[in-house]
Structures are given as structure tokens and as C-alpha cells.
Symmetry: C2
Subunit: 413 residues, 2 copies
């Protein structure tokens, strides 16, 4: 407790979850107990709920530059990613009847994308290629190009990795896929099948959970067909997310029933959550706000990174090559296991993580770090600091001060 | 607008959605922007989120009389029902390798149970028997008994039907299944397979979305293995529900990823929603509260029912046989289509529904009413009034007064 003299706790785990923004909380308020109708109901209570869901959908459609009916609200990013994976089996364009749908993804995806794909592979329903990142945590467009074949129905590449913060070349990968589709049009024309390129495989999906609060969200600009977004990673509440998907994307409903969300995702809509997500996206829609926040975070991240490397000479960044998201710093420290350091920091009031939050309880080394070529031993000594909207210079300074004391205690200073 | 002289709107669609109770809203408050940690995170922000999720889980476990790890939080009842249906394909006890898993359900289930089962049947993954209700809307235990076979892996019967309010003989069906399991133990013993009856098929599941706020929730008492519950039908928010399932139930994860919910349901937990559901169940746990509410509603329902039948002599109840839930009145009115009457009532400030909320936008006749033997024409003239915690005698009187005026206008008085 010698370090517990800071009266405020410092939260540096924004990549795990963010607080709900005051504007978001305020926007949700009327929809709990006053305007509580089921948006599927035809009466005025239902209509007032439907109208605000529509408004949120419109806000999202504008932000992502897609049509109104290309926005599907889900219970979160895990559902959206599972939905995309399951839809890979919904295909009608394969070259031969016996061929299996082929999925290209990467070794550094979030588990909610990787696990359902691995499960479909185990069940023999798909074939999958898992692209290996470079030592610095990047997937290249040429890797994707080399992996494409005529059975490829889905390419899914994470926009910003949640553990190491690398920004993948989504636009370049999109171009490669676009080119492949044009060639496919030629191939199908020869078979007297006239299909628009947009309706052709593969679907290009990106998990943009850690990306849209700082980077380009427009689907046509980054050339993706589908995108996963989570509410609670961008100051909206937990329990709501969205799958943005072009109309041409052959979705296979994961949840069936009342036929909500254009018959693609059943279940009573989470009205307050959706209103909250709409407001959070509205806040991100203000011109320049994402760029300004990235600019504001960059020097804080630099200060934190340099501070850590100075305090702990044996520490190394898991990746240093650009482009990197301005909010994630991942370091491997010498000798001390992440779990030990994490607890010591926590006792001093500082919240950071070791690997992704979802697997924080497990003591397995991060598959992402293993994929980058780190040893299990190294991966078990990684710490992820993630910055957010409330992070201040003072907090970074306090964090470094505490880290210096702990480094001395653990004899890694 | 001649009828718009009531300043207050009257909500009689509690079966579609309920307002969040003030106690529930208050309980959720700290978890938006203050205690906003991800319960999967190991630091103090994560732990304080995990603790309240655990507390809610404990509250539910006590209420349903199950173990702590038999409570799986979901995004709602649709997900829970889809999950149960999908799990029917996860079976390892079928009599022969070629036999398909067999599911017994009813024609009067909610769409979120029926649609995924029909889809699995279309895909050839299961065989399904859909039990037909009596003209009064009841399924009998002997119907279930007659449909059971050695391949039956799942029996799913709705506890209280959401459209007509009939309470099914869940306990009697449970006994029939229990007996069948005991015989199965004998059969398997002869094959030198020693299995506990509890681990045997079929799993008995009930969709209790319209039931637990008024009726017996304890799994062992009503003899079910699994139960679906929705937050927003019992004064907790939309976007949260629960699947209660005995450890022996062979669940097949629908959402994979971070391994939350005992590796069975991935996705960041909706902490405020779960806290809200916990509080809503706590309110229902008070001794006698459900019975008292049922007693309070019974005369209101009777007043409403008698009033309707008196005002509109040609009206008939879709079902009148007991046992019925005290909160649902479903009538078929003469000549006037539900949609017309619904709009007229809505303009006068009264919210009721025609059929289930989820399909309120469609003009299809209710499959439940068709199943009871009503004609499409009759089914399209049905109105569902559903009462709730805020319903008063005054509201019922005002509703009848308005209904009397409308009946005159439509010449059905």
C-alpha cells in the first residue's frame, strides 16, 4: 500500500472498455422507463421507440457512408464477428459443387472472429488460411493476394489490432480483392454468368472495434464490404454493437425469430443501447474530432512509451513500426510476469492489462504475441497500456512515477 | 381526435415490453460511467464489474433454485431460444449412428424458438414434431409422451403463451419426461452403459418469458432442465436475458470468442443490463409478490374481459379455459380488422397489440390462432390486451369507455 497515495485511480485500459460518455448516458435516459415501447409494436409507444432506432441507424449510415438498411444492430462485436464467420457457409458461387468455402483471415484477429472460423473448420464446413503477420504485427496486401482462390468467400482482417495497436493496410487489401473480383467477373462471363462485381466473392470484412474512434470509418473509402463495431469501445454502453454489411453480402441469420433488422437479426431491439451507440457515433462524426483525438493521444503515448523504456532499460516494445493506433502501448518487460506487475500496478491504483481483456483470467501467453514470434516466456511478460478520451498528461506522469517505484522494487529498473 | 380527451396514454401491451422499474434503473446507474470496467479484466475496475455480475448471477441462481454456473446471461430471450435450438444438434446418445436428433415442440411457441428449429429441420440436421394445441390453447402431457422416441434430444414447451396467455402443464410434462428417462436408464443398462438419468436425453426446456413474473420459477419444482427468460418482459431493460440450464444440458456455444459465461457464451458481459436483471429478479423474489400481483391483476383482467364482451356482443375470447395468466386477454372482434381497431385505440391513447409484438408490422394472421383452429379472417380480427405492474382499475375503466365509443363508431356495439 506504500504506493496507494494517489487518491484517484488511473484507468489505462480503454481498449478493454470505455466509460459511457455523459452525452450518451443523457441520450439514453428517456428510453428506460418513459419511452419504453417495443419498436416492433405498431402503437405510439412502439413508434416512438422505432423512430429513435431509425435515427440512430441513420447516424451510423451517414458515418460509415452506407445505406440505412446496411446497418444491423447486434448485442456487440462478438455477435457481429460470429455472424460474419457463420455467413461464410452461406455461399452459392463456388466453382465446383464439391469445393468447400475458403476463408482468409489472420493469426492476429480477435478471438470472436478466430474461434467461430476455427470451429467451422473443425466441423469440415470451410477451409481456412490464417495469414501470419510480420514480426512487427502487419499483414500485407500481397499476402492476401497470394492466398485468394476461386473458392474464397470471405477475407477478414482486423483494422487495428486490440493488443499491439498495429493498423493494417485495409485499403490496399481492399484494392487487391477488388482486382480479384474484376478478374472473376471475366471468368464468370466466359461461363455466361453475368454478375456484378459487387455481388461476387470474396466478401471483405474488417473488425474495426479498436479503429473507428480514431480512423477512417467509410466503407467505400477503405474498400470493405462489412465491418464490426462495438459500443463499449467507443463510449457507448456494453451490450450493443453493429455489423455494417453491404446489401450484396450474403448474410446467414444467426438469431432467428421475429424477423427484426430486415429479417436478418431477430430479437427485440435494445433501444437505449442503440440510442447510446447512435449518440456515440454522432460525437465521432464531428469534423476532425477523430484526427484531433489521435493527435492529442500521440504525444501522451510517446511520453508513456519513452518513459517506460527509460525506467525499465530491459523493456521492449512488441512492435514499433508505423502505422500504429495512438491509444495502445504494448511492452515486454524483463523477468517479471505480467500478472505480478498488473496486480502491483492495480494496488497502486493503475489499471492496465496483460493481453486482451477477454482472456485476462487465463494465464496462457497471448496468441497474437506468439504469432509475432515472441516466446511464450516473453509473451507472459507483456503489458498493454491503452489510452482514451479521459487520459491526461498528469495521469501519464503519475503512472510513470509509480512504474519507476515498482521497477525498483522488482529490480528491473 | 374526438376521443383524445384523456391526457394520459394507457399502456396495455406489457407482454410486448415493460418499463424499467425505478429500483432497476437506480441499481444500474453506477455501471455506465463510474464502475465501467470489463468484468474480464483482472484489475480493480474489472473486479468491481465482475463482483456485481456474480451477485446478479447469485440472485438468479437462488430464484430459479439452480447452481451459480447454471445461469448464462444472454442478449435476450431470442438468443437463449436460438441457443437451445442449436444445441439440439449437439448430441452423443442417439440409438444409431444414422438417426437424426428428434425435437418435440409445439405449434404455439414464440418465433424465436420455432424459427431456428424449422431452419435446422430444413437443413436436414434434426427431425421435429410440432404438437398441436387443443382448441383452448393447451398442450397435454400425454401428447408429449406419445411423441417421445429414443432419438428425442429436446422437448421445448412454452410456459405461458405470449398471445393467448394459456399456462401449459409444464410440471406434468416434466414428469412424463422424467419417467421416460428412467426407462431409458434401464434400456442403456442393458447395453452396459451406466448413465445417470439426469444426463440423459431429452432435455426439457421451457420458454418462460411471460411466466416468471407471475408463476413458479424453480426448475426442480416444475421439472425442467432449461429455461429462457427475458429482461424487458419483467421490468429490466431490453438487451439482456438469461438461459438457465442444468450442467448436464449439452449446450453448443452459439457465440464463440473470449470464453465468457463458463466458456459457453462469449462476448463482453452487459454489466448494467445484468445488474438490472438481477435487481428485477430480486424484486420478484420477495415472498408472495408474484402471487399477490397475479391476484391483483385477476379482477382487472375479469373486468376488462367482461367489459369487452358486454360492449361488443359479437366478440369472443380466443381461449377461456383455465389455467390462464392473469395479464393477457385476447379477443376476436367482429368485422373490424385488428389493425384498424389498433390504430383507433392508439389515436385515443390506448396501446394494445394484435398478435405478438415482433410480428406486429406484418399483416399475416397469427400462427398461434390458426393453430387453435381459428380462420385467417378471425385471426386478423384479434386484439391482445396485456396488463402489468402499473395497470390500474381506472385505466381499465377508461379503456372500456373508449372501446364503447369505438364499438359504436365501427357499428359492432
Amino acid at each position: 500500500m506504500e504506493l496507494g497515495y494517489f487518491s484517484m485511480r488511473i484507468y489505462l485500459d480503454y481498449a478493454a472498455s470505455t466509460p459511457v460518455a455523459p452525452e450518451v448516458l443523457k441520450a439514453m435516459t428517456p428510453y428506460w422507463s418513459e419511452k419504453f415501447g417495443n419498436p416492433s409494436s405498431a402503437h405510439s409507444f412502439g413508434r416512438e421507440a422505432e423512430i429513435v432506432v431509425d435515427e440512430a441507424r441513420e447516424t451510423l449510415a451517414k458515418f460509415f457512408e452506407v445505406d440505412f438498411d446496411e446497418v444491423y444492430f447486434t448485442s456487440g462485436a462478438t455477435e457481429a464477428n460470429n455472424w460474419v464467420a457463420a455467413s461464410a457457409t452461406n455461399n452459392k458461387q463456388l466453382t465446383t459443387n464439391n469445393s468447400k468455402p475458403h476463408v482468409i483471415t489472420t493469426e492476429i484477429e480477435h478471438e470472436s472472429l478466430l474461434e467461430p472460423i476455427k470451429e467451422l473448420e473443425r466441423q469440415g464446413k470451410i477451409e481456412a488460411t490464417y495469414l501470419k503477420p510480420s514480426r512487427d504485427g502487419f499483414i500485407s496486401a500481397s499476402q492476401v493476394e497470394a492466398a485468394l482462390n476461386n473458392n474464397t468467400v470471405l477475407v477478414s482482417v482486423i483494422y487495428v489490432n486490440n493488443e499491439i495497436g498495429t493498423v493494417q493496410p485495409i485499403k490496399e487489401i481492399g484494392k487487391v480483392i477488388e482486382k480479384f473480383k474484376s478478374l472473376n467477373v471475366q471468368r464468370l462471363k466466359e461461363k455466361a454468368l453475368n454478375l456484378k462485381p459487387s455481388t461476387l466473392y470474396p466478401v471483405f470484412h474488417t473488425d474495426a472495434v479498436q479503429a473507428v474512434q480514431l480512423f477512417e470509418p467509410r466503407l467505400s473509402y477503405i474498400k470493405v464490404d462489412a465491418m464490426t463495431v462495438s459500443g463499449h469501445k467507443l463510449y457507448a454502453p456494453k451490450g450493443v454493437g453493429v455489423l455494417i454489411a453491404r446489401k450484396d453480402v450474403p448474410l446467414l441469420p444467426l438469431l432467428r425469430g421475429g424477423g427484426q433488422e430486415f429479417e436478418q437479426r431477430s430479437g427485440t431491439l435494445n433501444v437505449p443501447g442503440i440510442v447510446g451507440l447512435g449518440k456515440a457515433i454522432e460525437l465521432l462524426s464531428v469534423k476532425g474530432v477523430r484526427q484531433r483525438e489521435h493527435k492529442r493521444l500521440a504525444p501522451l503515448k510517446e511520453q508513456l512509451t519513452n518513459g517506460i523504456l527509460q525506467i525499465i532499460p530491459g523493456a521492449k516494445l512488441t512492435t514499433s513500426k508505423e502505422p500504429q493506433a495512438g491509444h495502445i502501448v504494448n511492452v515486454i518487460i524483463p523477468r517479471v510476469q505480467s500478472q505480478i506487475m498488473l496486480i502491483a500496478l492495480d494496488q497502486a491504483g493503475i489499471a492496465v492489462s496483460a493481453g486482451a481483456a477477454c482472456s485476462a483470467k487465463s494465464v496462457q501467453p497471448s496468441p497474437v504475441l506468439l504469432s509475432l514470434g515472441y516466446s511464450a516466456d516473453e509473451a507472459l511478460r507483456s503489458l498493454r497500456f491503452s489510452l482514451g478520451r479521459l487520459t491526461t498528461k498528469k495521469e501519464i506522469e503519475a503512472t510513470l512515477e509509480i512504474l519507476a517505484r515498482l521497477a525498483k522494487r522488482f529490480k528491473i529498473a
